[in-house]
Symmetry: C2
């Protein structure tokens, strides 16, 4: 594919997208970032072909928003007049209800298509320095059409395949946010809550894979994730309630020494996992 | 090292120990297991040199108990009369207070040394079929001397090095159990509680590393773990209380939309993780 891409925000996700376009496609990439050092680093390593300006937005085929949710909305609000009707705008935010309450309206008003997107890949590091052309290999790419045309959705699907994603899923903003509250947000809350145990600082020598896995994402970017959590507060609160209830049930069985109840609860978990074939 | 080893219980841990002794040492291994098929499989693949009987126990240099906690105690109670004073008995249980309340007394009574041991390695599968000579590479080996001599402790340390463990830690039963409640038991409770979310069965396409990591050990052996959890009920209940309290604090900040409080809680988690250099 040979398209003119503009990427706004060269952090972990934007930087990785830029590198993936360079490695796996014939597209040209213009990068926009508020930090001149990041732009220079991206130019120096060939992640972007040029630093993007108004002209690049005017001639873009695709514009990827890779900022925080509110910053994505603000960027489009201030640059919508530059975006041609032939340019497909998409985002990479971890939540969708908030984004999809604003961007499709702005897109309609200014006459360009918008499709929500969420590459299900990440790392416990953030920023351009952590970006990687292969970050998305085999990952799922969630597409939230928000009323856009099938051809716009198909273009994003085709790009996802070209960049090495493992598959695409199409859904609504509400279903996306409900699922992400469980699959991604809850593990991040958990990791931070877990490492707050007074035992954590002395874990070394007493820990193995289980500790490493649960604590991995505690190294969180709290500015970004606090915004994502609060934008998705209803779904995340529901997941937290469910988890706290289940943990409390297990705690009661442990405290009482009720082996039968405890085995029953653990078996429920095991059977769910087994039925998923994992 | 060239010792006569008896391994009692050829599950994941016992089987892996047998294979590691074969791969990394000159020791001979006699295996004891109640399942004749397991013994045959272990013989067929060379994990054990022979099926162990009373004579092997009488001439053993080291005896590794790799059963469930109560079964380990029962085995020694019924076989202690066979164990010579020159044979070091050790176990591989995930909890130590219970084991160390019984086995050192039996050992003293019958005149052989006992040292508690806990190889900090595992897998989400169990049984001999999942055993692996390299399971312990770089893992920590926790030693709980229970009053045994320094030379007995040193022998277990030397073997751990020979089998490829990354290091050894020496501690008390109480400290071991408190640490393990956090590093190992809590993640297993969590994994089961986590997958009980109604969202779990439809996670595919919406999940990535965070889901995989938290849910990994939900595929639990509930017979074994219920026994381990209840034997360590005080420490595990305390960890569960701490975690539930921290999750509840986070949930309240999310529900209220209190970004400042939420950032503060997440920052606390991040700083703990960063200070550990992970």
């Amino acid at each position: 594919m040979n398209k003119k891409i503009v990427i706004v925000g060269l952090g972990l996700i934007g930087g990785s997208l830029a590198k993936a376009f360079q490695k796996y496609s014939e597209c040209t990439v213009a990068g926009i970032d508020r930090n001149p050092d990041t732009l220079q680093a991206a130019l120096d390593c060939g992640a972007i072909d040029k630093i993007g300006g108004d002209e690049d937005i005017r001639s873009a085929d695709l514009l990827y928003l890779c900022l925080y949710p509110q910053a994505d909305i603000d960027f489009i609000a201030s640059h919508a007049h530059l975006i041609p009707p032939s340019c497909l705008v998409t985002d990479t935010c971890g939540i969708k209800s908030e984004i999809c309450a604003h961007l499709p309206l702005l897109a309609k008003k200014h006459g360009f298509p918008f499709v929500g997107g969420h590459p299900m890949a990440g790392k416990e590091q953030s920023g351009f320095a952590a970006s990687d052309a292969d970050l998305f290999l085999d990952a799922s790419y969630i597409i939230v059409p928000c009323g856009a045309s099938q051809s716009a959705v198909d273009l994003l699907k085709a790009i996802a395949v070209e960049l090495g994603f493992g598959g695409t899923v199409v859904t609504t903003p509400e279903h996306h946010d409900q699922m992400i509250a469980f699959t991604s947000q809850l593990p991040h809350v958990l990791a931070c809550a877990y490492v707050m145990s007074p035992r954590c600082p002395e874990h070394n020598g007493f820990s193995a894979g289980s500790y490493r896995d649960v604590s991995r994402v505690a190294n969180i970017n709290e500015q970004l994730w606090a915004e994502l959590f609060i934008d998705n507060r209803r779904a995340l609160s529901e997941e937290l309630d469910t988890l706290i209830t289940n943990l409390t049930d297990m705690k009661e069985a442990v405290t009482k020494g009720d082996a039968e109840a405890l085995r029953g609860l653990l078996r429920t978990g095991r059977l769910i996992k087994e039925r998923l074939g994992e």
